[in-house]
């Protein structure tokens, strides 16, 4: 089960509302490489992981991603506070506002809502861990792109923190993959799927 702790993993305090920036940041909530997808990917993949270490990594990184989902949502919430109709129209936030007001909805910056089609659970640990390593790099690139587009120091401070976490997770998934390969027949680890073939 999960228990909520009333504390963010890293502080989020945005001084200046900026709905135009929120339109971009929202992709790290509900975009194809965002935090909702990361949490769903790892927390659903863990059942077919064949050893405890990999089950633990998927559980603990998946849980951290729920915390990142909350941090990105907090940024969006704070960037879109106290907006006037004029600001909403001039920033181009109107297309989002008409459907969601200033609520936090998991969608890509393009407006495409979060979809499980942007992630996979293949039920094969080698395949899934390779996807997870790619997912961390895709998220890292997205944070790089946000840092190119944003000049708000309060936002960028959090973006840099989250970017670092992608790199740490990539490292941990790489170790999980190595451990898995070592346990299987390392001369031919594609010989079988340990979650299916007995």
């Amino acid at each position: 089960m999960f228990q909520y702790e009333k504390v963010l993993q890293y502080p989020v305090n945005i001084k200046t509302p900026n709905p135009a920036l929120a339109k971009v940041i929202i992709s790290q909530l509900g975009g194809p490489d965002g935090e909702v997808g990361a949490a769903m990917r790892y927390l659903n993949q863990r059942y077919s992981a064949p050893c405890r270490e990999v089950q633990a990594i998927l559980t603990d990184i998946g849980t951290e991603e729920l915390g990142h989902m909350e941090m990105v949502a907090a940024i969006l919430y704070q960037l879109t506070r106290n907006l006037s109709v004029k600001e909403i129209k001039e920033s181009g936030f109107d297309a989002y506002f008409v459907d969601h007001t200033a609520g936090v909805y998991p969608t890509a910056a393009s407006g495409f809502p979060w979809t499980a089609a942007s992630m996979q659970v293949k039920g094969d640990v080698i395949t899934d861990l390779n996807e997870d390593m790619a997912a961390e790099q895709k998220a890292r690139t997205t944070y790089d792109n946000i840092l190119r587009l944003s000049d708000d120091p309060d936002v960028n401070n959090v973006m840099r923190y989250l970017r670092e976490r992608e790199i740490v997770h990539y490292q941990r998934f790489g170790e999980a993959l190595r451990r898995t390969i070592d346990r299987l027949d390392d001369k031919n680890y594609y010989i079988m799927n340990p979650a299916f073939d007995r």
């Binding site: 228990q3 990594i57 951290e64 919430y77």
Partner: protein
């Protein structure tokens, strides 16, 4: 300016983070003695800071919230509000 609650919270968040990062490391290095020592030290530090914080500023989990006169869980702000983290 940070108030006392924020100061205590930031210290707790830093210790909480170090502990979490050590957890991930131990998942893939379960026999690393140096890692285990680091984790034990961080856990002790985090538990001390959490107990001090919760005693003064309220529980971080609903299960541990005070339930005497009024349900404490709804008395403190949630952390996504500006100034609450």
């Amino acid at each position: 300016m940070e108030n006392n609650r924020q100061k205590a919270l930031r210290k707790l968040m830093a210790a909480r983070f170090a502990l979490h990062d050590a957890e991930l490391y131990l998942d893939s290095h379960p026999d690393c003695q140096e890692g285990l020592r680091y984790f034990r030290a961080k856990r002790e530090q985090m538990e001390k800071l959490r107990n001090e914080y919760e005693a003064e500023f309220g529980s971080l989990t609903a299960a541990c919230a005070k339930a005497d006169e009024r349900w404490e869980w709804v008395c403190g702000a949630f952390p996504w509000e500006r100034g609450e983290s």
